[in-house]
């Protein structure tokens, strides 16, 4: 392990067929599986909004975003499966049985268009920041290469989110009130996406999978979004939020991590519905997989 860590410290890149310590393989696998699950769950949620998105241009963009998210899941499951810890069908079965994790934000329900905009703006920005921090110095080559593609596309999503946010910010009182409610509901889940402060012995940092600590990424996001939302006249649902003149920084109040922990146990407000809908979708599309299997077997026989 010492040699392996020295290799990583020296900028070494690990490929799927290389020898690697089991603990590293397991850690990379779990991280990519979580990412893949989140892309898939996010894509399924996005899909619900295609018919409800206002305006043809944005409706088509949401259609494209749905395809992007499902596509990201597809690519990530391939990368994860190549690590040999679990097969792709096993990962999906675990997810739909509620035995696998996905990001906290997908355990909440997007009730209004304002929620969708808040997700595309606040949550996508948070997800993008964490992905960029992994991409920057990721020691696992196949993941790094797929992340380049994913990050480029998440950038489109975030810009659409910002455009929609600006339209609402300059909209009617009813629209602004709707978006204020969405900020009130989504501020904390978005902030908690970064996770609690990184532990000093965090293996993901030690093995150059992550390159920045959770609290650093979270703080950078806070410094960006607090002035932005205030600038458009919205408030942030954190009574402890204050500007520290000396540090020239926004300081958030104490963070209640209980809601995040509940989502890790599939106990979020919308966890059960999300998982059962995803499982139902998987069951409904079984005929496609069966048809593909038949094609595959016919080709093998020919």
């Amino acid at each position: 392990m010492d040699d392996f860590e020295a290799f990583l410290d020296d900028g070494g890149i690990v490929e799927a067929d290389d020898d690697m310590p089991d603990a590293y393989r397991e850690a990379v696998f779990r991280f990519i599986e979580l990412h893949a699950n989140s892309e898939l769950m996010g894509g399924l949620t996005e899909r619900e909004w295609i018919p409800r998105t206002p305006g043809l241009r944005h409706k088509m963009a949401v259609l494209a975003k749905t395809q992007d998210e499902i596509g990201h899941g597809h690519l990530l499951y391939m990368v994860a499966a190549d690590l040999g810890c679990k097969t792709r069908p096993d990962m999906l079965e675990d997810l739909f049985a509620g035995n696998s994790r996905f990001h906290n934000v997908f355990h909440y329900r997007a009730k209004t268009w304002g929620d969708q905009v808040a997700i595309a703006f606040l949550v996508d920005a948070a997800a993008l920041a964490t992905q960029q921090a992994v991409f920057k110095n990721c020691s696992y080559g196949p993941y790094k290469r797929i992340l380049r593609r994913i990050i480029a596309e998440e950038g489109f999503h975030m810009r659409f989110g910002e455009e929609r946010m600006l339209r609402i910010a300059e909209g009617t009182d009813i629209q602004r009130a709707m978006f204020q409610q969405s900020i009130d509901d989504w501020w904390w889940p978005a902030l908690q996406l970064f996770g609690p402060d990184s532990k000093p012995d965090d293996k993901l940092l030690r093995w150059h999978i992550k390159s920045e600590r959770n609290e650093v990424l979270r703080d950078r996001w806070v410094q960006k979004f607090v002035p932005l939302l205030h600038g458009y006249g919205f408030t942030i649902p954190d009574p402890g939020l204050a500007f520290d003149q000396e540090a020239d920084r926004w300081m958030v109040g104490s963070i209640d991590w209980e809601p995040l922990k509940r989502t890790l146990r599939q106990g979020g407000p919308d966890s059960a519905r999300r998982i059962s809908e995803a499982a139902a979708n998987w069951a409904d599309t079984r005929w496609v997989r069966d048809a593909l299997e038949r094609v595959s077997r016919r080709r093998e026989a020919a």
């Binding site: 992007d68 597809h74 593609r149 480029a152 593909l292 094609v295 080709r299």
Partner: protein, 91 residues
Amino acid sequence: MRIYEVFLKRKGKQEFRHAGSLEAADDELALVLARESYVRRAEGDSIWLVDRDHLVVGDEEFVAPNADKPHRHNDGGRVAERRQRIHEENS
């Protein structure tokens, strides 16, 4: 089902480069999936797919002997040394 390795090339730029992999029932469906998974925003102008089972692989052990062939290299050190000596003799 088969696993395919995906290579993309941009017209007038670059060589074919490895982009990732995918799983598909046959070549035709693999091409459609490659286009929809890897080339949604013109990341390439043409696609190569290679069935992973058809890859011929030379591993590190096979390649290693060629790392120890100094007679195939010349770093120019001896020439520089000789030039330096001639220069000093003539000055």
